[in-house]
Amino acid sequence: MNPSEITLLDGGTGTLLQAAGLPLGELPDTWNLTHPQQVIALQRQYVQAGSRVLYTNTFGANRFKAAGCGYTVEELVTAGVRCAREAAGPGCEVALDIGPIGQLMEPLGPLSFDEAYETFRQMLTAGEAAGADRVIFETMSDLQEVRAAVLAARENTRLPVWVTMTFEASGRTFLGVPVSAMALTLTGLGVEALGFNCSLGPKELLPLVRELRSWTPLPLILKPNAGLPDPATGEYRMTPEEFCRDMEEAFPCGIRMAGGCCGTTPDFIRELARHLPRGPLPLELISSRGGLCSGRRVAEDGRLRIVGERINPTGKKRLQQALRENDLDYIVALGLQQQEAGADILDVNVGLPGLDEKAMMVRVIQALQANLDLPLQIDSSDPEVIEAGLRTFCGRALVNSVNGKEEVLNAILPLCRKYGAAVVGLCLDENGIPESWQGRVEIARRIVEAAERYGIPRQDVYIDCLTLTVSAQQSQALETLRALMAVKRMGVQTTLGVSNISFGMPEREILTVSFLTQALAAGLDCPIVNPNSPAIRKAIAAFRVLCGADEGGEQYIQLCAALPAAPAAGAPASSGAAPARPASGGSSGAADSLEDAIFRGLGAEVVRLTGEALAGQSEMEIIEQRMIPALNRVGDAYERQELFLPQLLRSAQAASQGFEVLKSRLAQHAGESLSRGKILLATVQGDIHDIGKNIVRVVLENYGYSVTDLGRDVPPETIVEAVLREKIRLVGLSALMTTTLPSMEKTIRALRDAGADCKIMVGGAVLTPEYARQIGADYYARDAKRSADIAREVLG
């Protein structure tokens, strides 16, 4: 393919096959086997019109969409490549066409990353064996699905990879992926070209093409629809001439492959051939924007970015406990709190002796990216943990960290290269941290050289000149700042953890903030701080005013209004505070007692009054004698229909804030447990409606039970295994649909057959007490309140 010319692709396939007799709603891919001559005839028309790359008719030939069509994935793909090859002849390439799987991935849908990967791998190996020249993943709207696809292609085939995604006019895909995140992630993953197809016409896509151009130096692909269809008939009205006029405008924006999608025909391609620029295209020199990203948000290079440091168990007992108990909600709350406090990037460190760090890193990243939008900094010294994290994270991550040691550089830089991640480089090596700034700059130089050797450009290297404690090594503060100024001139990014500076000194905050300000002035791009600290946030906001980044000081003024100056003395430092979990509004007002606060659902009051109660009562006494009776009062009012579900949940939530206070206290002197017994909950296999089950969980937890929640769509054997392993005595199963009730029955039978010594309660919208009895459940729980009553009956 000539890089200085535009290569013509093909046009629509599905609609034309329908015109040739394919019934609407049938899988077009089966025609590769049942009507190969029609498929070849259509594709040949494209070749005659000027197409130089034919897409195979295999868009939906994956194991999910092809289930029940009578052919295997391998048969469909092989026949698809064969048809295209026959139509292509010499001088025309064949691209294995792969569309979205048709199942949403976790966390919104049921499909796991590994299942998606395997689904793509199956198509890819079949396509390569059949002789495809490259692969095109098209019409994608989920970035994580594309990541699985690209990794499957790169790890199992030698096919060059193209990707086009489908965007709305808003500049995001159906799943909320912005153009920038697509570009950063896929450029990092090493695709050969990327762009857009489907959804809109060329005119609507033009602004998106310009946006994409600014984020990637790669060749761009454009394959729009023929405008928008008539909704009643699905027909497109745009003419080839109109289509090509709009396409021409996009050509100068770096388009190197052009074709059409829905509604376009061989006539469109023929017309497009006439509109191609004559002669070689001028070489464009476009400076690409860069940055880190999640699937939804970008932390762009060139501005100050705050790295939140709170997800790191070192010296944090409550977080250590949460990690040991697999309490992901606590960790998510830590993340949310930092996101709301203005963090741009979150550091994630889950290393704890005796814990499977790799498995935990994967779980924590999954939970974080399900609930917040920030790009992550994967913090570990173990390459395996880093790779597992990079594989899981959807976006472009920062790896923390490498240093000047050869073996570390050689173990971690290839991973960064493979997944397209940026990397933190610490200015130390086997001889420790150099005392002089020159020594640190020398190490930085070695790190940058090594990174470039591995194909990682220096703007993706974040050098950390390291902060030493001023109480122990006073002269080092200045050395750090000097090193920072020098490495900044190397064209790298800079990062620095600043809190360490004040260790062992009185009034730490003033020292930390002063050092932070000096470091920012010396060229620090990414301070690693606790964004929950008002002093730090204000110092950063002040810096942005002084360097002109915050125009008119608007953000500074807003922040000062939101965080008024604290009273001079006796104010508790916020840095150690536990994250308030259910933080949302309406909890104002004062309560007379803890019981009253719980009854009225006043979270902040519950926290205050629980703290006060601890002066006179033990944690267990507070739960037994005050919280549970208050929750019972709520439950009784609910039974009498004086309160309803929203108030019941509000009270449960307020109580849970009180529990958090007790748990944080107990974490300081470990050993004691507040649990009144274990309950296992699951939404049965095939069912994805889990809000009812989650409501039950919250209520049960607030009666002091520890709940093992297996989630939704859970196979019977997983439930049986967990019940036996954890010696569970009460199991709650939920199903919302009539179609998933048989799965509930199957689960109960599996539990009984396995001899599990447990009671089973069931609930869900379409369940009745009669049916519950019939399928062998011990209890029918019509609502969350009833499930708490059952728990008390079974577990006490």
Partner: protein, 223 residues
């Protein structure tokens, strides 16, 4: 087709939450706040296609023949059938899922509001269709899973409408829709002006076996 979400029927949401009587001030404030979040997140989309209906009930140009007596009764006398799908979009799904971690109380409110919202989107869309097809008359919506119209046929409806490409909707292997706040339905177009268009019967509702309203000898607003 993208639409805007405006005004969610509050009474409907309260009914889903099981709230009887007037909501108190706190609940009203919470609902207001959640409704604002939902309106900001939701991107309602609808799509539809029109088909002639053959004598055996098959939709012309497809191999789709709606199964069961209930749908046959519902479409009796209709020579034309509209297939429709509507969704509040993935961002709504994400909003409700995320709320479940932060505040289950908010999540329950959002869930109920979103259920009311997607029904409302369908209602307003059907009014538009009714105006477009006037003087022909439209039956009410009838969805897979009502009565003996098999839920498994959801898959055929979704394929014909190409809902993944048009609306970003997908079906799980078990035939459940994601985003969950989505609807598919069939609507009959009747040439005759006289008989009042069919509405689904109580007995066709999937919740009939366990319906609180039926136990109390009242009805929900869907009937």
């Amino acid at each position: 087709m993208e639409r805007k979400l405006t005004g969610i029927p509050r009474a409907e949401a309260l009914r889903y939450l099981g709230v009887r009587g007037e909501p108190d001030a706190r609940l009203t404030a919470d609902l207001d706040r959640c409704e604002a979040q939902l309106c900001a997140a939701a991107v309602p989309r609808v799509c539809w296609r029109s088909f002639a209906r053959e004598a055996d009930g098959t939709l012309t140009g497809t191999s789709f023949r709606p199964g069961g007596e209930a749908i046959a009764r519902h479409l009796a006398g209709c020579g034309q059938v509209l297939l429709m799908a509507a969704t509040l979009g993935a961002e709504t799904e994400r909003l409700i899922r995320r709320a479940q971690v932060r505040s289950m109380a908010d999540a329950a409110l959002l869930d109920a509001l979103a259920s009311a919202a997607v029904e409302n989107v369908c209602d307003r869309f059907c009014e538009e269709l009714a105006a477009r097809f006037s003087p022909q008359r439209l039956t009410s919506r009838f969805s897979p899973g009502y009565g003996d119209f098999p839920l498994s046929q959801q898959r055929e409806v979704c394929r014909i409408l190409n809902v993944q490409r048009m609306l970003g909707m997908t079906l799980t292997p078990g035939g459940l829709m994601i985003p969950q706040k989505s609807v598919t339905a069939l609507i009959g177009v009747s040439d005759s002006e006289a008989p009042s268009p069919a509405r689904p019967r109580c007995a066709d509702c999937p919740a009939a076996g366990n319906c609180r309203y039926r136990k109390e000898d009242t009805f929900c607003e869907s009937i």
